[in-house]
Symmetry: D2
Subunit: 475 residues, 4 copies
């Protein structure tokens, strides 16, 4: 499904949007919002709208622009909408897991979309089953929705405030019910969620500020950790449902790789943050070279930063093919051996006869880096110095990012010199945790568990395995 | 969706099949079984299989042969299967309501398919919602499945036996869970359900014996009212979960119209029963005429019976176009006025200059009958005598058959002479209830509520309306 | 693709319709006309319309109701239309061969649809290629269209009159160009083609009168052998382009099997003709028996006729499953051995303990008949007497009907007693050619080559092979 | 179909690939080659293979990865293949025009794919029609193929050599027939075409060297103007069919915009050429500013060049959304007014409070530039200086590029100061023709007709209109 090269990146699990607008085009705004969040999940998408009484949903597998066309979008009439774009680990059989998840409750219809991973969800799953509920999917989202539906309280925000203290881990939620869109963020603040005002009335919440910018929003601010935000008509109400964690745990990888460079998060421009990471990298892991090239697209600002500090000229070294679709055919191993290489071509004119610094944002399994180093050498580079804008990834993520297992992580097994050998570089430098935090201008408040193994919320390491049992049971 | 002419018939709601076989091709047998039950529902179809641990399902909208192809059928590997074919009142948005309904429970995965209508389901729906469960569809099937999942008991058949006494109305069920396929029939016996033995090991339950014949079954018998049948490996176990109702309430319309003529039900060959209905009709409502013609296809045996008793020659008078598909385009009113008539052409050679008896099996709204009478006249008939093999339908069905509402039923508003005028017949004769029962050779044991208004189980007449509220709420 | 049972029938190759109407809904009328001709070809369908200048076409594989929906039909605006429904021997790769065939010529755009087989087309194919034309399909239709386009003449009907004398064999054509729809029939009159008047202005040509009846046509007559009919506005003009053949060569199988029973052809009602065939059969090949049953649906009138003459009661013995679609999954051989039988179930109540006459319309390869006889025996018949409403088929057809090759025809290899043994009948009787002609009330004027080997137009027996070469070349 | 922003660019019409390989995977190599040429046409794609006798083709509308999947690619077995990716002006109805065009000829099956525009094709179209040929599409490709098929000669390369002198204008062709793949390029060399050697045997021709690099090719060289190259087995034969034009006419826009930056054409690295264009632009049209930003993606190298020469820092200013698919829904005008802007977001951190040089590669209608300038201002730029890496486009292209008509070209109507006002820039600078040629290091040999109106081959300006007549006629 995924190209061979792309597969060697951390995977985000979702993008969220929630809309309350003055007109009846909430679904269309949700569509454009999701479109700006497409990079956060390309496997499935869905939108639910409410006209105040009924909740209507369309969702399916594929890119936002494949799932929705005029005929499926136009019937979604209403002033409120939530939307979701999803990265999923498995394939066609998981149609049931596509979000928003919609359910009839004693309080009326409820739609819910979720980004993150609640690490104690499996306990609640068992509780629900013991209570006699039936579960129709393997997704945590259904568990969260049924827990919410079962809480006491006069309003959905009250019920949400009651249930949030029970959930451990990473979650951003958008909820649609009756005349309200409700958004919430976990008290650790793992995943980003921001709020903006529509110029002609109404508000939007979205995983990234870029989506708010795309919709023309003003007065953009973060949804706070532990905060519930209720959009209703033109109004926004807020309540602090859970006190923020003593120590916040923002995902550093949002800054390094996930978010689009136009995002602003933790008051930092992501593009600037990446440029700063490149600058720190040039200071901490300098190299003697003739040209600095990025691995496109996410490493471009870091490479510019590296070039600025080092004084080595910046240029493009790779051309990336952007037209990979969902049903793409991969080269056979035989064709690979013959030299068929789809994802990147090199620009020999900028590389040949030069000492090259290649800036990249992470090494997960090490498969891609080795290929890229080889391509650069074949294009005539005399030396290849690889510089990575974060520390070695030595631990899996349990908060909604698919990093791979311990087994799959090259830095769990090998030291930096061995990795350098493995990828065939002349030198390899990672940014240290302190330098990374210095680049972000922060001392703390970030989750660096994938680099350090210090998880901000206790996790059972058997978790992933457990979940698969349920997946299998419903085929 | 439905052709104009077809829409003037009572609508069955489902066909069921359940398989336990010695090989791994339970799904394929379920497919061929459903194919033989296609006339009971053309809107959607689904099959769930179990390999003893996981339950895998494929379902979708369309004919059985459209929903399933090798690529969707082949992955359904297992020795147990249940299948369902569905007639549905509404359209595309009801994808969620397609059966089998599959759910993860505290006792493992459960699949359930249902034919009928449980008249007190809405009360249980509310109970479930109050208990904090969420419902993801508007179908009763989900309610039945969640009730079942919430019952106490060590086995699924035990839980089923516990819950059945609570359900009022018409239900035949097939259930798949673990290594068992379970079938059950309500104590009134509204809908047919039969059991047969596969020649090379295993058993099959199906809504009609024709499906069992298609699969080559031997030792065919009815599942009794109130009986639970458990298929496991080569074995069949039976338990009488609820005592049979004092007075059985078989749906007479199965004999008149729904079942395929190769069905045997209540120890009657349906083809023979229809021929008998025609014979009684000739006795009770004779006519002076030159030829007896059926409205194809279901009235053919009755017309043969009418001809036999009356001595008037039998012949075909209509040619029916059989190629109407799901996306069929209807003629505009303008084209209809110009004489475009799609469903039936007449055979003038058999009609012109003759006095014609036209035998049909029911008049629901009266729209079709009028068109047919006009066609017969245009083909040159000198007289048209319409004979119907059942009494006037004056009341809606609340047990799973879509007859239409009181408003829509022509015989709720008009007497027989007025209907005769309305459809333009020279004479119109219905079979009386006693003559109909005489044709079946039975005094009682049948539900004739649509003719008499005497419902065998008390019903709330607001029911249909109530259900629509939920439909709307989930869009 | 085709069910196992259906495959043992002669295959028609096409249905044609041509419309000139007062309104702009010619395409919609063509659609309903094709729908009434669906039995003549279920593999593909197409419609071309002309608004007087441009010719617009939609065509595709599948049933008429699958190929066309509102979105594809509505853009086909115009007062003239032609349509085609096609039976094709091969599958998906032959998209190019779907008709109407449309081509830009020096005289403007031309659309053409064809039913039949021009036996000297391959010579013209070579001529065209030698002249430097390129051919984009393996179909004769393209050859006929390019020949027509290359003829001299001021009008299309003139050019058509010039080219028709060159064509040997069976062809009915509908042509659309400019403001005209033109229809033509070969001088032997192999295939049927009729003309009718629309009640509100305009005319229709169609392969069968049933389609004209469906469209409400009046003043129906056959298009004569060798005649060209030009529909333009409200007018019809006719010219005898080629003198009728000394001896006409109507396809007898239209009367026996292909045409719908509501067709009138050669002034005979097809339903009545079939009843007559059954009557003659009862006289020529009587049987001692208790019941006469038809193989549905085409043998019903013949069985009624047989019953009338023999005095043996008529009844139904088989139930046919009508829901076989294009992607239908066939039982494996293993399942067949276990008794899975999809196409027909028997009505034991009408068969058991009786001596049965089973009336069928043809035996091609003999595979079906054997299965049916076995089913009847398994249903308890004490004797099975098979009666066929035509003579043994001993020769292939080269005029557009797929009978199979010499090798495949059972009557090319075996005598009647051997065939009787092969199919397991107690007796087997075919109608003789003279008795068949007597039933039709004609001495001559029919092509009986498949029974006699006397082809009315000389054919090269290598023909079929030759054509396949081109098929292969364009993949 | 196309996004509003993308629509303001010149449109290339095709990408070509031709393969002769040692294995049977020519189709798969063609697929990967087309994939690397996807930027040259996203509307349709097709591949034809030959196994030496038959030519098999699969083609359809959509991206290469949508048209082809394993099930459509795997049947295309053969050692020879040609492929085509297409930009098309109109939509769904032009299925017939998708290439390769395949035709049966007297010399056997022939497949042909074409990039460019033969300006005297309409004359040949008329000749063919007068000769009695029929044309089934409105595309020139069919005309070229039928002309080729009608030429005398013993081999396809001989026939091609005979017909090439008749063709005026731009054409690169790949042809497949029998055991050969043949490629040819017009004597003016308008469009690029290159040849490379597969490391394990066989050769590839492709529109751009990047595709050859993707396939691992060695020994890459241009196909010469007027040259025919014949790939057969491992061999390549060449013949100079037409003498090169006295003055070559390479399309300058390949260097400026069309080709991927990894292309090498006219011995120039396209990336380097664009960097040079940026450098010359900085010299010829300097600006006082704080940052140089490119309009992604094509202007990145030029912006780097501009920054290098001007000493103004380079940075990214826009984030481009890359996920626009074929069925994309556009914002309504109302939503646009509210500020919904999909294609580009700005990076305020790099723009706010600065004087910005925005480097772009062309202004066609001027719609995009105005939007971009406004976005940059809204992001806080104090000044916006637009610099374009080519001269004003004042004339349409008749050689295969869709620039728009005279009416649509803003520079046909307005002078530079008026355009600057129109787009709201503080200053606007275009590169002059001499400076552009200097950047390329060439005095001549390029077609600059769109800038100068001096067409290297005489064209009839009515051409486009004429062609539309045929399009319409076949609907």
């Amino acid at each position: 499904m995924k190209s061979h090269v792309e597969s060697d990146r951390p995977k985000e699990e979702c993008g969220l949007v929630g809309i309350s607008t003055a007109g009846n085009d909430a679904a269309r705004l949700a569509f454009f919002g999701l479109y700006a969040l497409q990079h956060r999940g390309q496997e499935a998408a869905g939108i639910s709208v409410s006209d105040g009484r009924a909740v209507r949903t369309h969702k399916g597998q594929g890119l936002v622009g494949q799932v929705f066309e005029a005929s499926t979008l136009d019937p979604l009439v209403g002033r409120m909408a939530i939307g979701h774009t999803r990265y999923s680990t498995t394939g066609a059989s998981n149609e049931r897991n596509v979000q928003p998840f919609v359910v009839e409750t004693i309080h009326g219809p409820l739609g819910l979309a979720h980004n993150g991973n609640v690490v104690n969800a499996d306990r609640f799953r068992t509780e629900l089953l013991e209570r006699g509920a039936g579960l129709q999917s393997s997704s945590d989202t259904e568990v969260l929705a049924l827990m919410l539906a079962g809480m006491e309280g006069d309003t959905w925000d009250e019920r949400l405030a009651k249930v949030m203290p029970r959930w451990q881990g990473a979650y951003c939620l958008t909820i649609i019910a009756g005349t309200k869109v409700i958004a919430a963020r976990d008290p650790w603040g793992f995943r980003p969620l921001s709020l903006g005002r529509l110029p002609r009335g109404g508000h939007v919440v979205a995983s990234e500020t870029g989506a708010l910018q795309t919709l023309g929003c003003l007065d953009i601010r973060e949804v706070n950790p532990g905060e519930i935000v209720v959009l209703q008509g033109d109004l926004v109400r807020s309540r602090q449902a859970v006190p923020p964690a003593t120590e916040m745990a923002r995902c550093t990888f949002e800054q390094i790789y996930f978010s689009r460079p136009d995002a602003v998060w933790d008051d930092l421009s992501v593009h600037e943050a990446r440029q700063n990471l490149g600058e720190e990298l040039a200071r901490e892991r300098p190299a003697e070279a003739d040209v600095v090239i990025p691995v496109p697209d996410s490493s471009v600002p870091a490479a510019i930063g590296f070039a600025n500090v080092s004084g080595i000229p910046y240029n493009e070294g790779f051309v990336k093919n952007r037209y990979i679709g969902r049903t793409f055919i991969e080269p056979t191993d035989e064709l690979r051996r013959q030299g068929v290489a789809l994802k990147f071509n090199t620009l020999a004119a900028n590389i040949a006869g030069r000492r090259v610094v290649m800036v990249d944002d992470s090494i997960v399994r090490g498969t891609t880096s080795g290929q890229l180093v080889r391509l650069v050498r074949e294009a005539g580079a005399t030396e290849v110095h690889v510089r990575i804008t974060c520390p070695p990834i030595t631990n899996p993520c349990f908060f909604g990012v698919d990093m791979g297992t311990y087994d799959e992580l090259i830095a769990h097994h090998l030291g930096i010199p061995e990795i350098s050998d493995h990828i065939g570089a002349d030198s390899l430098g990672f940014l240290s945790v302190p330098a990374m935090m210095k680049a972000l201008g922060r001392d703390s408040g970030y989750c660096n568990a994938c680099f350090t193994g210090e998880y901000p919320v206790p996790v059972q390491l058997s978790m992933a395995t457990e979940k698969r049992r349920f997946d299998g049971a419903l085929g």
